[in-house]
Amino acid sequence: MRHTLYEIWKIARTTAPLIALVGLFSCTVDGCRCTVRVRNQTPYFVHLLTPEEIWLYVAPSEVKALKADEKPAELQALIAPGQGVNAQCATSFACDSSSCEVIELYFENRSLHMRLDSSGCQDEGGSDLD
């Protein structure tokens, strides 16, 4: 009995990381799952809202990883209230963008914008999402 339990424990210990990896980036009947990174390049705390998640008070320079799948979902970003500035923008995001790309939030002319930053990818340039 004790031996059997030990065997089960050994199998579980080996397979758990594999299951976690598959779960992190996997294709199921519902589609592929991945994460899309968003970096707050504004000097303000921002809120990030998607149909699945709410991230409040994302600090300047902070990066958040949003859950995404094949189907485009809307990402709303807004300057958190109480900072003297009201600005928001939205875009859609999905798994099809390369994993090295980051959606950057920046503040210009009292407006909030998003752009794809591909500086972490080779031979790719940034593109504006606005």
Binding site: P43, Y44, I54, L56, L78, Q83, G84
Partner: protein
Amino acid sequence: MRREPARILLLGMLLVSITAPVRVLGAPGSEGPDAASDWAREEEDRDGAHRFFLGLHGGFHLPYGPWTEHRLAGESSGEVTHPNDLTQVGPGGGGILELGARYGRHVFTIQLDAGVLTPGTWQSYARQHGSDISVSLSKWDLNAIWGVELLRVSSFFIQARLGLGYMVVLGTEESRDYRLAYAYPFFRHSFSARAGICAGLEVARGADLLVTFDESLGVPGVEYENDSSTRLYLGTTFSLGLRLWPLAWLQ
């Protein structure tokens, strides 16, 4: 903030008093084990009608500690440095429903606290800084409470109480500037504990008037993704209400 050590000390004292032998404050039974059991039996015989109860109370809740602070408190963003005393949560009130049973000097209660909390200084601060927001906060707390009677003089009694349960704080912020509303995800569903004391007076047959003072905490409390500080739910509740003993009316 500086009052917290005193509150923790008070909680400790309550815990000690509740777990110490119940023969305190000169209550019957301090003469020895046999006398104590006799006293308990007499109480049960006398109070057969006082076995099951339900209670309704109105409560005032005073939250305190780091969990009440707003995430922006003390932070700088843009050209603004936000004040250190900016609060996310303020005092509130609500109703308390309890169902319980009494066995001798021991009282077992299931208690539901439901109430609203005020949005601290946050809502007015945001409005002063050009953001038209409206915040609604509520608090739900379900506890199993064990109480023990420390003193009974005629129809007046004092009980110490200790409880464990589950606490939920819900918050929603509506922004008219952005025309959207979002729930606060940083209020975590938490396990809660409370310790307190209540004083009661039998005001009519089968009806006790109770004043209760409880200190409560919730773990993990408030958690921000980008902030590692511990923000347990801490609060003091004062309540006033009636505890009714339906069997006493039937006899």
